[in-house]
């Protein structure tokens, strides 16, 4: 991420321009995930702010209340965090070990940004759950989660598949599928207490 020079006469004031520039870069990458097409923006100017924001949002929405029983409920904040980051690192290592020519942080960036559809699904699920229980409620949530899961997979493979030799593409894509499947499962089974 590019630095901006501050005016040397004001050491105390932080210039707002780097923050706006970074936010714009993050927003641009969100757009690239929502409308995936072959472009190098996510790979070229990678950053990890977007994945961090998404992961924190998702973990905050997914965590169970502290008053809930410790043994039987949904994941804690730390568990979601660990699954997302540990999973992304494992997939990146796997991709590199198979001989892919993508760098470590580029791959983390792509995997993190492609959680965006699933975070949107989590938001929708929480809103739908406010309407009360019922089988229609469940079908709506199932449909939303399936659509967003497919969107995440398509978005990430659009960026990641080209970096592998063609006879190993399936080997590199399968862990991505498993990763987003686990996150979708956590979203679908979320039950507010």
């Amino acid at each position: 991420m590019a630095e901006a020079e501050e005016s040397p006469g004001d050491p105390g004031t932080a210039s707002p321009r780097p923050l706006m520039r970074d936010l714009k870069a993050v927003g641009k990458k969100f757009m690239h995930v929502l409308y995936p097409r072959k472009s190098n923006t996510l790979l070229r100017d990678w950053d990890l702010w977007g994945p961090l924001i998404l992961c924190v949002t998702l973990a905050l929405m997914l965590q169970r209340d502290s008053a809930d029983s410790e043994k039987d409920g949904g994941p804690q904040f730390a568990e979601v965090f660990v699954i997302v980051w540990f999973g992304a690192v494992t997939i990146t290592l796997n991709s590199k070990l198979l001989g892919g020519n993508i760098s470590f942080f580029q791959s983390l960036c792509v995997l993190g940004y492609c959680i965006l559809p699933l975070t949107v699904a989590m938001l929708i699920c929480r809103l739908v759950l406010l309407a009360g229980p019922g089988p229609i409620n469940f079908m709506v949530r199932l449909f939303v989660v399936i659509v967003m899961f497919a969107w995440s997979i398509v978005a990430s493979t659009a960026f990641l598949a080209d970096s592998q030799p063609p006879n190993r593409r399936a080997l590199a894509v399968y862990p991505v599928f498993l990763f987003y499947f686990v996150i979708s499962w956590m979203i679908l089974t979320f039950t507010p207490q």
Partner: protein
């Protein structure tokens, strides 16, 4: 043709020198075992009696040995990244082939010799274990959902801690048991001085691929018919254990009968324990919960849902 003979003779010498230098290349020399039949051997050059092996298989083994020779000439140190890259040097078709080989074990085809061919990989064991752990947790949770639909007095919860338990137990099984097995076989090799056992990675590979058949078994356990579940469990366990036994048999039959029988039965027993543990922990039939605090549910019988319990305010589903 003298020139051709000279060339083949030279090749044979070079290969045997290389084999002598690298003792953990999983091959055996045939020269001191005239009575072994169709054993785990890779013969280069003019072989006399191949025992039960086909000519075609000898040719492909020869090609594999040459490839292995080139492969081993550039073995980097274990602190470099390319050392670990050599364990992921597989194609999609090879992984699928190995999975098919583990699903259909045949008595003559040793998994290690036939499918691995001195190129064990870590991709298969690692991702099969990961898939199995997550599938266990997901289907265990799904059984709870389905049970709750049939009997609304059962309290549903996501049970996320089961993911951790599944992951740790599967990975420990798939890595510690091969370690113990490999250590034991090496110790017996030291005692008997006969056959070279498999390398550690090959043992891990065999165990990892043999766990693949548990994945469809776990998914089929969603069907809530008890005798069907035990049937599927027995089938999958039979296939998986057969694969392990057929792979270990050539190594172990050189040993005394007692040790061979004890080792094979321990392997099968551990595998059976794993399958039963999965069934009992992740797919237990659940006690219904009173409105009273849940830790008093231990006083209830486990299999009979009590109808007079008030249904709790359920989690919306």
């Amino acid at each position: 043709m003298a020139a051709a003979d000279e060339l083949t003779f030279h090749e044979f010498e070079e290969a045997t020198n290389l084999l002598a230098e690298t003792p953990d290349a999983a091959t055996t020399s045939r020269s001191d075992q005239p009575t072994s039949q169709g054993h785990v051997a890779v013969a280069v050059g003019s072989g006399d009696s191949y025992g039960a092996e086909d000519e075609v298989e000898e040719e492909s083994d020869k090609a594999a040995l040459l490839q292995e020779k080139q492969h081993q000439q550039q073995q980097p140190g274990f602190w470099t990244f390319s050392y670990y890259q050599s364990f992921f040097d597989v194609d999609t078709s090879q992984v699928l082939d190995r999975i098919k080989g583990s699903l259909l074990p045949r008595p003559g085809h040793n998994f290690v010799r036939h499918y691995l061919r001195n190129r064990p990989d870590l991709y298969g064991p690692f991702w099969i274990c990961a898939t199995l752990a997550f599938v266990l947790a997901v289907t265990g949770n799904l059984t709870l959902v389905l049970a709750q639909r049939r009997d609304p007095s059962i309290h549903y919860s996501p049970q996320f801690h089961k993911v951790t338990v599944a992951g740790i137990s599967i990975y420990c099984y798939a890595w510690l048991v091969p370690l113990a097995l490999w250590g034991f076989l090496r110790w017996r090799k030291g005692v008997r001085e006969r056959v070279g056992p498999y390398t550690f990675l090959e043992t891990v590979c065999v165990y990892g691929y043999s766990l693949f058949v548990f994945i469809p078994m776990v998914v089929l356990w969603l069907i809530p018919v008890p005798w069907l579940q035990w049937l599927f469990g027995a089938l999958a366990l039979g296939l998986s254990a057969a694969g392990l036994v057929f792979t270990l048999w050539p190594v172990v039959r050189e040993d005394t009968r007692l040790v061979a029988a004890a080792l094979l039965s321990t392997v099968v027993l551990l595998h059976a324990l794993l399958a039963m543990g999965c069934k009992l922990y992740f797919f237990q039939s659940l006690p219904p919960e009173h409105v009273a605090p849940p830790h008093q549910a231990a006083s209830l019988p486990t299999n009979i849902p009590l109808s007079p319990t008030l249904p709790r305010s359920m989690a919306p589903s």
